[in-house]
Symmetry: C2
Subunit: 123 residues, 2 copies
DNA sequence: CTGATATTCACCCATGCGGGTGAATATACG
DNA sequence: CGTATATTCACCCGCATGGGTGAATATCAG
């Protein structure tokens, strides 16, 4: 839910191997061994990565006899994206805004020195 | 760009303190000291976190004399979100899709065959 | 120049993490 | 039953990381 889960999810996805695992699962479900053989890491290491992804609720495990079938489960990513959306204004509309005032301000009164908001003030 | 930057960005954002710093910058620019005093960590530690955020291109530093003013710079988050969007189908439209075929298939001929993507199956 | 403020640099320390190996444990198969 | 396969458990190792302290390094103010 809150902060903690975001920690778990983001740090889980921060690892390239784990992202690769997720990418692989995007194609279809797979067993631990399948995943292990798809990457240059040991079966054991793969097992650990999976556990991390499981804790982050990014994969679901279905035990079928001796096989553990992993499948994708992206809700957690949805939450992560939701958090990032807060910052959307800082990557989207950014160029648009710049372009906008540049075009609409032939005088050249460019506020290149951003307003320091509240930041500077104190002390 | 590719994989590497995603590593840097995601691991940068995976830390709660760094996310808090970003949240703080959402309100307005701030100096290193301002950020440090806003959290229970030392000035030094704050400086390090900022450097990490800088490497991830999540904050911009403008040196004004002895003050370093930090400001938000979310493009990188945009890329991260772009990566996550790949998995959108696994959290969004999930219920919608389920509901959809349930409603549009009164016969009950559900494609429950071996659709691996589902995984949810019975249990 | 001298002192105060803002940041960083250079270390130190504990912990966590990715990866590896070898031994359990569970399930399938003959 | 016994053997092979699938996963995990228990450790071990190297390294990065978060956090801390104290000493540089800049810049501002007298």
């Amino acid at each position: 839910m809150g902060e903690y889960q975001l920690d778990v999810v983001l740090s889980a996805v921060a690892d390239p191997t784990r992202r690769a695992i997720l990418d692989r699962l995007l194609v279809g479900d797979a067993r631990v061994t399948d995943l292990a053989s798809a990457f240059p890491i040991s079966l054991n290491s793969t097992s650990k990565h999976i556990k991390v992804l499981e804790r982050a609720e990014l994969v679901r495990r279905e035990v079928r006899g001796r096989d553990h079938v992993l499948s994708l489960r992206g809700e957690a990513l949805g939450e992560a994206v939701a958090w990032m959306e807060q910052y959307r204004a800082f990557w989207e509309d950014r160029l648009a805004a710049l372009e906008a005032f540049v075009l609409s301000d032939p005088v050249g009164d460019v506020p290149d020195d951003e307003d320091p908001a509240d930041g500077g003030g104190a002390r």
